[in-house]
Amino acid sequence: MFNNFFHKMASPKYFYRISGILIPWLAAGSALLFLAGLYYGLVKAPPDYQQGDSYRIMFIHVPAAWMSMFIYMVMAGAGAIGLIWRIKLAEIMAISSATIGAWFTFLALVTGSIWGKPMWGTWWVWDARLTSELILLFLYLGVIALYNAIDDKRTAARAVAILALVGVVNIPIIHYSVEWWNTLHQGPTVTKFDKPSIHLSMLIPLLQMAVAFKLYYAFVVLMRARCEVLERERNTGWVRELAEKT
């Protein structure tokens, strides 16, 4: 029965229908959580005693940075499933995740840089986290470039899966090496982003935003995956019917 469910889920037509039902719910949930997170984060939470109100950038910077890592893991996981069990849908999820992951990485980089300006006095500091995010962005761009360069999309998806797996082995090493490099060259500077203890009134909106970002990712990745499904199944009867109805 369980097996049956996955088999059904893996059929593009069924996926298209179910995801169509899921998307509005996920979108609504993420919108509600965003509103709550914004309210508690921008209005309710008190200013930080050291950073004043500038710390409020954290409520997007930190969840975006978390998502950038998380989505890479999802992408590699989905890619591995696609490679091993030849499930087309997993391949589609992997490549649909890549673009969104790149956007989140970009967001984490830009907000980190903007946050750095009032804190450090310059737009860019070779801080360990920012540097890691920058390299992660390069990894994402590599994945996207490789996918676009290969004409046959099934081959492209499988090549991308290999690259994502290689990347996933390397990410912890890159992360570690960058932190190591950072302590080596800058001395033990206190990273302003990592708070040893965070007050509950700040933790709550942070978690709200983190879950909101997760739900947002879920519904956006489904929307992208639906486009890929339509593109790949364009010669089947159900897609033609669907196209002519709209």
Binding site: L42, V43, P47, G52, D53, S54, R56, I57, I60, H61, A64, I100, W103, F104, F106, L107, V110, T111, I114, W115, K117, P118, Y216, V220, M223, R224, R226, C227, L230, E231, R234, V239, R240, L242, A243, E244, T246
Partner: protein, 57 residues
């Protein structure tokens, strides 16, 4: 807290609102792009289907 104070953000208004503005932009564009793409794909498929029907008829 009044509205002015809220928008002032303790002097960090520029940084905070730029960050949130960029975040809003990124979140919106990732919703809008797939919607447009879906419309485009469906339109293309529908046109292709009509063409083949006309040719076979």
């Amino acid at each position: 807290m009044n509205l002015n104070e809220f928008f002032h953000m303790g002097g960090y208004a520029f940084y905070v609102w730029t960050s949130y503005g960029i975040a809003l932009f990124v979140l919106l564009i990732n919703v809008i792009l797939p919607i447009l793409q879906r419309k485009k794909i469906l339109g293309r498929i529908a046109r292709a289907a009509r063409r083949t029907r006309r040719n076979t008829a």
